[in-house]
Amino acid sequence: MSGAIELDNLTLGYDGHPAVHHLSGTFSHGSMSAVVGPNGSGKSTLLKAIAGVLRPLEGRIVQAGDRRQAMAYLPQRAEIDRSFPADVTDLVALGLWKWRGLFGAIGRHDIKALEAALQAVGLVGFERRGIDTLSGGQLQRALFARVLLQDAKVILLDEPFTAIDEKTVSDLVGLVQRWHGEGRTVIAVLHDAELVRQIFPQTLLLARELIGWGPTETVMTRENLRRSRGMTEAWDEHAPWHEDGHGHSHEAAQ
């Protein structure tokens, strides 16, 4: 199977300060992977880099074809300005950007596709609702509709199931599984280890560097998870205001 997305010695960060170190490996074509790790481990950073939002400090991301054409990126909900006076249609219609760009007119065919996408996520009747009036779950459904509209080969989801109710999670998980079934490559940042074990065949465990990457059952081991927690703690200890001499070994973490 040809590699869909290959990471080659990838180092990522902000303002020249690395947050993720020396990542190499491949998300194969049609795979469904979870990216997990403690807070601050660089999961969202990795996803941003794959989406082309963040430029790597070092190394590269190899992918056949035009990356912007092939990807659908769902950012964290918090990154969306919900006070902006837009309605659900405005938000979801951004998914047409690949075809319509800055100037293209949105035609009847596009409107049909948009309606179908809203129907698939259960938001029929919400077309003209302002996004500031949506609940967290409804907003996430709208964002999934936008992903649907993008009809992309690679789908990147940043914490798609955080802080939304069970019913919405199960609906949206159904969509993700449908995408997987259609042969699309899915990469999702997740926090819920249980959900990862149930649904995602592949897992990338990250803690500012690679802890494990492969079939979920071999990666999500107690030992690996303990190591990943240690890595971020070790990093915290390097923070300048933290006093030393609190009794546990730094070596264990490294």
Partner: protein, 295 residues
């Protein structure tokens, strides 16, 4: 005083009043929507900073050719763009945030501009540049304002979709398109353009008022983006009308004198504020009536 005498007669009777009204109303057509996007992008203070930043450019134009509209406008536009770009660059390549570098640049520009004008001009010239000379708009100035507004409206129409996407979900836009940065730059250019368009009438310090106050007021009344832009234009136009009508009666009541420049400036600020809330407007009118009666 009848409504006709208050709102229509001055503009029909005096050519300079008519031109002042036309200038302000045309300018409002693009300043309103630009102001709406400034508030929505949380860049209200950026607009203010840019308004200060155009001063040294206008001052340089003044040094070269006196109070002539074209050189001062071009100078102001160039200075505004330079400050916007420098502030962006400093923010990108240092740990300084964009707002603090903007603040630093505009303070320097303001000081530089005042110094440049003082080199050659008088206090009256300084007042003209800072607070504008809305009653001295000639036909050339109106043509200039018309051109600026036309360019702004076309520019806004071109980047509209990108600007909405950039406000709403910037990371998503970056994932599908490289348009984000160019759209932002064009938008900053439009802000500067509208400020220099307004500066002959309203002065460098208060040109931003025609942008921000109607936009801020419109936010309270309507929900949709297009509606906000439309309402901002409407509020701007109505407030221009009242401001100018008011101005004439204000002048009659108090009389001209050395309070002129400062009084006009204050009156303008108060009026603009009043557009958002009719209460202030009424209070102001009442106060003016009192003044007139006492006299």
């Amino acid at each position: 005083m009848s409504l006709y005498q208050l709102l229509i007669e001055p503009f029909a009777q005096y050519g300079f009043m008519g031109r002042a009204l036309a200038g302000a109303m045309i300018l409002t057509l693009s300043a309103g929507p630009v102001g709406v996007f400034l508030t929505l992008r949380r860049m209200s203070l950026t607009g203010d900073a840019m308004a200060h930043a155009i001063l040294p450019g206008a001052a340089a134009g003044f040094l070269i050719s006196g109070l002539a509209i074209l050189p001062m406008t071009l100078g102001g536009f160039a200075a505004g763009l330079i400050v916007a770009l420098l502030a962006g660059l400093v923010a990108r390549f240092s740990i300084q945030r964009e707002d603090s570098s903007l603040a630093a640049f505009y303070l320097i520009s303001l000081a530089l501009g005042v110094m440049l004008i003082s080199l050659r001009g008088s206090n009256v010239d300084l007042m003209h540049v800072l607070f504008g000379t809305v009653l001295a708009l000639n036909n050339d100035a109106l043509i200039m304002i018309g051109a600026i507004v036309s360019i702004s409206l076309v520019g806004l129409a071109i980047i509209w979709r990108g600007l909405v996407a950039e406000c709403l979900d910037p990371n998503f836009l970056r994932s599908v398109s490289r348009a984000g940065h160019p759209v932002h730059l064009v938008f900053l250019g439009l802000v500067v353009l509208n400020l220099v368009g307004g500066f002959q009438a309203l002065g460098t310090l208060l040109a931003v008022g025609l942008m921000m106050l109607p936009a801020a007021a419109a936010r309270f009344w309507v929900r949709g983006l297009e509606a906000m832009c439309g309402l901002a234009i409407g509020i701007g136009a109505v407030s221009s009308l009242f401001r100018l009508a008011d101005f004439l009666s204000f002048e009659r009541g108090v009389g001209a004198g050395n309070h002129f420049g400062g009084g006009v400036g204050l009156c303008r600020v108060a009026d603009f504020r009043a557009t958002g809330r009719g209460v202030f407007k009424a209070a102001l009118a009442a106060a003016q009536n009192c003044v007139r009666r006492i006299e």
